[in-house]
Amino acid sequence: MIHTVDRVARVAFAFVLLNYAAVAGLFALSLKRQLWR
């Protein structure tokens, strides 16, 4: 049970991280941060 909760929590974290990166991406682009190498 704890293992399942941990797995779901990790997937939830990845989902949040991946999605909210879009907001950060827009900010980064509008601030013209150096994103490309």
Binding site: R10, V11, A12, L17, L18, A24, L26, L35
Partner: protein
């Protein structure tokens, strides 16, 4: 009004993550467009842009030289973006097998432009320095190009978590996301074209290459989508494999921010993508790429509006509670990731983070 915002936001999230895959599944069954691939070994030019990555470059050159592909049909072009003594030393050691180009530091896009200019062959394979190619990867990339309707081919990036080798703190979530993403690309390929390629491994006909604007963030989306706009197909090949480790969560976040910033930028660089009369894969592009840009705002609106409506009906209260639970779980997941990372550091297993930041995993 609030209820309308709730349902509109919920529809965006549900369509992007569940509705669109169902549409693709049905579409690919009803109207598949097979690729007439043919095994062949045409001459190819592999173009790699590097900066200060001497060790990885040495490994990459050895990897490319060990592929199951005739070396007389393989040109390796390495473009050094700026002067880096380590990179230059590796290129000098491999002068007999690599065409080295040195350009003033100006970013990856400018380096790729120089690399394509130096490429001698009609098929250009783009690769990043970090990921290892499978021995048969080039065969997998070039076979679909025997079909004249195909202008580009994306290879498949295998993360270490998929092969059971990974140990990154965010591996489980990233592995699941990446499997889902690749499934979408396979279905999109089956009905026409994928929405871009994997930067670590993709091929493009030289005739479809248009020099990239120097500030391009995602060459692996812009170049293939320009091929699609030119009425060519860009397909996904599971026969062309490259391998990569999942990076720690902080590094993956930075990569993802870069990727998504690139997806915004592409809308400015190629506004034709938003035009249903110019973009032959408009439905897929809007559903996959633009939809992903909208989802975080829809998620935020959903949380706020359901919170405001919670007192008015048990349904909204339940929806709000479900989201609070979900974000609570995500916070717990973040804590688990941090704990794993600290444990790995204590055990001396911290990957070379700085090396991992460079390059693209999941455009």
């Amino acid at each position: 009004m609030m209820a309308a915002i709730f349902w509109a936001s919920a529809s965006v999230v549900l369509y992007v993550y569940f509705g669109y895959p169902i549409v693709l599944m049905v579409w690919s069954r009803l109207r598949p467009r097979p690729v007439h691939a043919h095994p062949d070994e045409p001459p190819v030019s592999v173009v790699i842009a590097v900066r200060d990555e001497a060790e990885a470059l040495e490994r990459k050159i050895a990897n490319l030289r060990s592929l199951d592909y005739p070396t007389e049909h393989l040109q390796i072009v390495v473009v050094s973006d700026g002067h880096h003594p380590g990179t230059a030393a590796v290129l000098r050691r491999n002068v007999s097998v690599v065409d080295a180009i040195y350009v003033r530091r100006g970013g990856k896009a400018q380096a790729l432009n120089a690399g394509v200019e130096a490429a001698r062959h009609d098929i250009i394979v783009f690769a990043d320095v970090r990921q290892r190619f499978d021995r048969r990867a080039l065969h997998g990339l070039v076979a679909p190009l025997a079909d004249p309707t195909v202008g580009g081919v994306s290879g498949e990036l295998m993360l270490d978590v998929e092969t059971g080798e990974g140990s990154a703190d965010i591996g489980e979530g990233m592995g699941g996301y990446w499997r889902y993403e690749k499934w979408l690309r396979r279905q999109e390929s089956a009905i026409g074209s994928t929405m871009g390629a994997t930067g670590a491994i993709y091929a493009l006909r030289r005739s479809l290459w248009v020099p990239l604007p120097v500030d391009t963030i995602l060459d692996d989306v812009l170049a293939p989508m320009r091929a699609v706009l030119a009425a060519s197909r860009v397909v996904f090949s599971s026969e062309a494999l490259a391998f990569d480790p999942v990076a720690p969560s902080g590094v993956e976040l930075r990569r993802k921010i870069r990727t998504l910033a690139g997806n915004y930028q592409i809308l400015r660089l190629e506004p034709r993508l938003l035009n249903p009369f110019r973009n032959p894969v408009w439905i897929q592009y809007m559903s996959h790429k633009v939809g992903r840009l909208l989802v975080p705002y829809a998620l935020m609106a959903l949380l706020i509006v359901s919170g405001l409506l919670a007192a008015t009906s048990p349904f909204y209260a339940l929806a709000f509670a479900g989201q609070v639970l979900f974000y609570g779980l995500a916070a717990y997941g973040a804590w688990l990731s941090r704990r794993d990372r600290l444990l790995a550091e204590d055990a001396g297993h911290e990957p070379a983070v700085n090396a991992l930041i460079k390059g693209t995993t999941t455009s």
